[in-house]
């Protein structure tokens, strides 16, 4: 039987072109200036892939062939317009949901949206693998002996397994990020044994399925058992991981969705899918690595989970230490007199929706001749680069926004370090206190600044990791205790007077 793909050399070229366009889409993201063109390349690549597939696999009504044989060039058949209609209905329904969601979603909810999208890719991969299992003839992976080709069995089992893990893992990540589920880790007894056992079982089942003599279309229940176990393991892997580690989890699931697409690309012998899968897989892996490095956690310790469960007990019974409290007027006066101001925003700023008033404050300061910069820690938001998007939404120019390693040396020349909604990322304990849970995490050297302004709701709450922060009690620190948005609004009023 002819393989179902690459009947015409131009088809292979078209898929290759869409793969290359996807590479260019990512390449465009090297700077904001080229990024929009890159995104358009991505859309064109996707269009080419979809049109090529529709043209080469145009739905036909079978007239003279058996049920398991696909029809290509030389069999009598007529276009099956009702099936074409059904496909377009599916595209329109999905497309509308996607488009409307993308328009409406708040930028603070981006991590949840991305997790939800990952779950869809995972589910789609599982469904395609199931379809290939039930109807291998259509994918050109049916061997002469009536069994599915051995290598294809391995590829599609792996695709289904990774897809299922991506799906159930992303659903949990979504629920944790969206607040449908507590961010606290859920620790099962002997979870490492259960998880490793389940993973081993999936691999063994895949091996048995590959070696089986009974692997015709839809035959052999080992495939279904492996799928079910994969859904379970995705769930089990993510529930013990705490909310603070979700940026790593979302990046990791991004990677998995890519590997799932690549595995299905192997099954279908499709260049576009393989290239894309490899790109997305590497992208997610690199982002996970960057996030882990920014938190000084090893990838294994994040995946093993449990972080954030016990650490809050540490910082409780501490005596009240003296600190200086300032008013909005004091802050406004010092800010106006300053030459260089560095703003360090954290997720608390986004929660308080203070980014717009913060930008107004920066505008006023710039009008007074103050040099204003923003300093972003890699884990400032809830996913990689999240804080940059939130600032961009508030019309902060991207060339005023700097990454940790690019700006950290500037605190020594800085008059005011303005900390809003951040805490752990400015905690010097990460540099000095070996017993601290955040020890080794790269942090901003704010203590080198002449004045530190720290906006915080009250003195009682501590950061995400539950550690006290010595910066509160420094001589040059002015604590601005209030809701972030209200405080910045008051500073704005005082600046305007």
């Amino acid at each position: 039987m002819e393989p179902a793909v690459a009947v015409n050399p131009w088809v292979a070229v078209a898929y290759l072109a869409s793969g290359v366009l996807f590479i260019l889409a990512l390449r465009g993201l090297s700077s904001p200036a080229t990024s929009r063109t890159g995104n358009r390349f991505g859309m064109i690549g996707m269009l080419i892939a979809v049109v090529t597939t529709l043209v080469t696999h145009f739905p036909m009504t079978q007239l003279a062939l058996g049920p398991d044989q696909a029809c290509f060039d030389n069999c009598s058949a007529s276009p099956n317009w009702s099936l074409v209609g059904e496909i377009f209905v599916a595209i329109i329904i999905g497309g509308t949901i996607g488009f409307v969601t993308a328009r409406k979603i708040q930028m603070t909810a981006m991590p949840q949206l991305v997790a939800a999208f990952h779950s869809l890719v995972g589910m789609a991969a599982v469904l395609v693998a199931i379809a290939a299992f039930l109807n291998p003839g259509a994918f050109g992976i049916l061997g002469g002996d009536g069994n599915i080709l051995t290598v294809s069995r391995i590829e599609m089992s792996l695709g289904a397994a990774i897809g299922a893990i991506t799906f159930s893992g992303s659903v949990i990540a979504f629920a944790k990020l969206n607040g449908n589920m507590s961010g606290a880790p859920i620790i099962l007894p002997a979870r490492h044994v259960i998880n490793l056992g389940t993973l081993a079982a999936i691999l063994v089942l895949t091996g048995l399925f590959a070696a089986s003599q009974h692997a015709g279309p839809g035959e052999n229940n080992l495939f279904w058992v492996a799928c079910a176990l994969s859904f379970a393991i995705g769930f089990l892997l993510i529930i013990p991981i705490g909310g603070a580690d979700m940026p790593v989890v979302v990046s990791m699931l991004n990677s998995y969705s890519g590997w799932a697409a690549a595995a299905m690309g192997f099954t279908l012998h499709n260049t576009a899918m393989i290239i894309t899968g490899a790109l997305v897989g590497s992208s997610g892996a690199i982002l996970s690595y960057i996030m882990c490095r920014a938190m000084n956690r090893s990838f294994v310790s994040v995946i093993a989970g449990g972080f954030g469960a016990a650490s809050s007990a540490g910082g409780e019974a501490k005596e009240q230490r003296p600190y200086k409290r300032g008013s909005a007027e004091d802050a406004a006066f010092l800010l106006k007199e300053a030459e260089n101001v560095i703003i360090i925003p954290g997720y608390g700023m986004a929660v308080a929706q203070a980014q717009h008033v913060l930008r107004e404050m920066a505008d006023q300061l710039k009008a007074h001749g103050v040099n204003v910069k923003y300093a972003i820690h890699p884990v400032a938001g809830r996913m990689p680069g999240h804080m940059n998007v939130l600032l961009a939404e508030a019309n902060v120019p991207y060339d005023e926004v700097f990454e940790l390693e690019d700006i950290n040396h500037e605190f020594a020349q800085c008059d005011v370090a303005f900390i809003i909604g951040a805490n752990d990322v400015v905690n010097p304990a990460a540099k000095t206190d070996k017993s601290s849970p955040i020890y080794g995490m790269p942090v901003f050297d704010v203590e080198k600044a002449k004045t530190i302004m720290f906006i915080k709701r009250s003195m009682s709450g501590v950061g995400y990791s539950g550690v006290d922060n010595d910066v509160f009690y420094l001589d040059q620190t002015m604590m601005l205790l209030s809701d972030a948005k209200k405080m910045v609004e008051e500073i704005n009023k005082a600046l305007a007077d």
Partner: protein, 105 residues
């Protein structure tokens, strides 16, 4: 295509991915995630093949559902990426000189 040529494409693409992704500026890591999310929906190719194939009708329905799911991602992923990228603006150079720049949007 034989398995080795497919594997070669895959391995080389992993290297391309590695270098391309490291060149992405950290400020655009969120759009990177949403766009990779959109392009990984190229899995729609498999879904379309399954939908369009004659033969097993259950396989056709699995395919159609997968087409719908992947379409959510394609349209949603590219649209939300475009929306985010449109927000990234450069500093307006003359703005810091004039005190009343509040009127300009």
């Amino acid at each position: 295509m034989d398995f080795i040529s497919i594997l070669s494409i895959f391995v080389l693409a992993c290297f391309v991915g590695y270098y391309v992704v490291w060149s992405v500026t950290p400020a655009l890591h969120t759009p990177l995630m949403s766009v990779t999310n959109a392009i990984s929906s190229v899995i729609v190719v498999g879904a379309l093949i399954a939908s369009a194939a004659a033969g097993s009708s259950s396989s056709k329905w699995f395919g159609l559902v997968a087409v719908a799911l992947a379409s959510v991602n394609i349209f949603g992923g590219f649209a939300v990426t475009a929306r985010m990228l449109a927000m990234y603006k450069k500093k307006e150079r003359p703005a810091p000189k004039t005190p009343e720049s509040g009127g300009a949007k």
